[in-house]
């Protein structure tokens, strides 16, 4: 399977990364090289193999059902959460107008 410029443009759009024509031209052969190389995985018969889901067997834990379990990251941290926002207003994240 190989990707052309249009496909790369489609993927870039799905990934929300703006790319110029020149970048797409450059990226397409690079991606093709990588995809061609990973193609060798198809020669392995994996019909009887389950895909890995956990690399080290571990149990799934539930945390205690308490509010603000961790004092540093629990609730009531609005200003800390907003501290690095490029545009914070009135205690919210600011974004460009979404609804006309």
């Amino acid at each position: 399977m190989s990707v052309d410029k249009q496909t790369v443009a489609k993927i870039a759009s799905l990934a929300r990364i703006k790319m110029s024509d020149e970048e797409l031209e450059r990226m397409a052969p690079e991606l093709n090289n990588i995809l061609e190389w990973v193609e060798q995985l198809s020669e392995v018969d994996t019909s009887q193999v389950a895909p890995m889901t956990a690399v080290i067997p571990n149990i799934l834990r539930l945390r205690d059902d308490v509010v603000d379990a961790d004092p540093l990251t629990g609730g009531g941290k609005r200003d800390d959460v907003l501290a690095n926002a490029p545009a914070a207003e009135h205690g919210f994240f600011g974004v460009p107008k979404v609804i006309e």
Partner: protein, 493 residues
């Protein structure tokens, strides 16, 4: 007067505890060495005040007769992938430039609680994606090592290249690293130092900027096996804030260190004998076998049949996870925002990510997005996860025959900066020996073995059973005791 910058973790900890010198003297010496080494570009920001404050706290605790922590008085470098409260954390990216965390990663928090201080935040490949430290937004890191008779800047390896450079250049006694597909071991090998990636889950991932969550693991980088053991003890431990954290006690690795390998079996995987591997690497591997045999171990040939598929599987799995993890950089909650006049929300996302990510990061996000997209998921991602199962099963079978595996860390020694960047694929091959242990979540370590005829360091890799960091450290110690690796880079910076 002691040259404090020549001391390692254990020397500093013990010297401070005994009162031979103060933690402040040590921190002052390293702060000066860091300030003087700007041309290496190992640090993105330096934090001399943090190092001094931690040192003063240690000195005060000692004078009051309090029990000192495992890393008391030791100033370290912190890879800039760990969130540090009040100190810029960038993952060497433009998109996180200026990000000042309001919280502290668990690993760094553990280290400060053990008495360590921070010299600064270390440069790395952007979002830990790279094997040469050439993808950082803040510029390449130069290895302190140079080829004999040349002053061309060499790669310190990646992604933990600031860490490897700082430790090899003696501007930090130790540093944190993270390893997703070799990012602790390969830079350690390139710079003649030690580095261990513990079993997946030993060190909390909480507060570590995520790259590929099923693979990311933190670990120490230092100049001796003992120093790695001490620092790993301080870093590791159960953390309820990380869903994959191991709920196990941290063993006392330092106390149980022993270079006597009597009764141990060391496996030599025949598939690691790959075409294109430097003769010098093969020779050092032979030497490694002889050393371990001398330490009392029995050498056995083993087979890990799916080795050649590990790297391509990794380059599906890691980008797939990265494309998902990096979706959070959207210009809304933190980091860069690029909002052209009159642009809407979707344009803002696309412009922000175009401006904020470097080429290698974009490449991996695109690969990841592609292999996860409808119609290709089974052929690529699912197939890669099945291969990952097979790679892991290869190791499980091998453990019936041996206790630890010996292999080279890298297929070549370090290379000049700029020499491999024409083809991303050539760069990826650097991690061909490191990736299988990552896919299987196993503890693995690189220890310095020898120098090439050009005077560049070579490392040997030890891979152990799950949870058997001790076995890896002990085999590493056996090599360290016999290799007598004392070479250090000549100071040119």
């Amino acid at each position: 007067m002691t040259d404090f910058t020549s001391l390692g973790v254990k020397d500093i900890r013990d010297g401070v505890a005994k009162g031979d010198f103060t933690a402040r003297e040590v921190a002052t010496a390293f702060n000066a060495a860091v300030a003087q080494a700007a041309s290496l570009n190992a640090f993105i920001v330096t934090t001399p005040d943090h190092a001094l404050a931690a040192a003063d706290a240690t000195d005060a605790a000692r004078s009051k007769g309090e029990t000192l922590g495992k890393m008391a008085g030791v100033p370290i470098g912190m890879k800039d992938l760990f969130a540090t409260r009040g100190v810029q954390t960038t993952a060497a990216s433009h998109i996180l430039e200026g990000f000042i965390p309001e919280y502290e990663s668990t690993v760094s928090s553990n280290l400060w609680a053990a008495g360590a201080g921070m010299l600064g935040k270390l440069n790395l490949d952007q979002f830990a994606m790279g094997s040469s430290n050439e993808t950082s937004y803040f510029g390449n890191v130069s290895s302190p090592w140079q080829k004999e008779g040349s002053n061309a800047p060499m790669s310190p390896g990646g992604s933990s290249g600031g860490s490897s450079t700082a430790v090899a250049a003696r501007i930090a006694p130790a540093a944190t690293g993270t390893d997703t597909g070799g990012s602790i071991r390969q830079p350690a090998a390139f710079t003649g130092i030690c580095g261990i990636k513990p079993t997946y889950g030993r060190c909390s991932r909480w507060g570590v900027v995520a790259f590929a969550s099923s693979l990311d693991q933190a670990g120490p980088m230092a100049r001796s096996v003992e120093d790695c053991a001490i620092m790993l003890e301080a870093m590791a431990g159960f953390d309820p804030k990380d869903a994959t954290s191991l709920q196990m006690d941290v063993p006392n690795w330092e106390a149980a260190l022993s270079g006597d390998l009597s009764g141990k079996k060391v496996g030599i995987p025949k598939e690691y004998q790959m075409e294109g591997t430097d003769q010098a690497i093969l020779d050092s591997w032979e030497q490694g076998k002889a050393w371990l045999k001398d330490a009392g171990a029995e050498i056995v040939d083993i087979s890990l049949p799916h080795t050649k598929y590990a790297l391509p599987a990794y380059y599906i799995i890691a980008p797939a996870e990265a494309s998902s993890n990096l979706a959070r950089y959207d210009g809304v909650r933190y980091g860069l925002r690029d909002l052209p006049d009159g642009a809407g929300l979707q344009d803002m996302y696309a412009e922000t990510r175009a401006a904020g990510f470097g080429d290698e990061v974009k490449r991996r996000i695109l690969i990841g997005t592609y292999v996860l997209s409808a119609g290709f998921y089974d052929a690529y991602y699912n197939q890669a996860q099945k291969i990952r199962t097979l790679v892991s099963q290869d190791f499980e079978k091998a453990w019936a025959q041996c206790d630890v595996i010996l292999a080279p860390t890298t297929p070549t020694a370090s290379f000049p900066l700029g020499s491999l960047d024409a083809d991303p694929l050539t760069m990826y091959l650097n991690d061909v020996f490191a990736v299988p242990a990552s896919l299987a979540g196993l503890p693995a370590m690189s220890v310095p073995a020898s120098l090439t005829k050009d005077g560049l360091p070579l490392g040997l890799q030890l891979v152990g059973k799950p949870f058997d960091e001790q076995g890896v450290l002990n085999a590493g110690l056996a090599i360290q005791q016999r290799a007598g690796f004392a070479a250090k880079p000549e100071k040119w910076w």
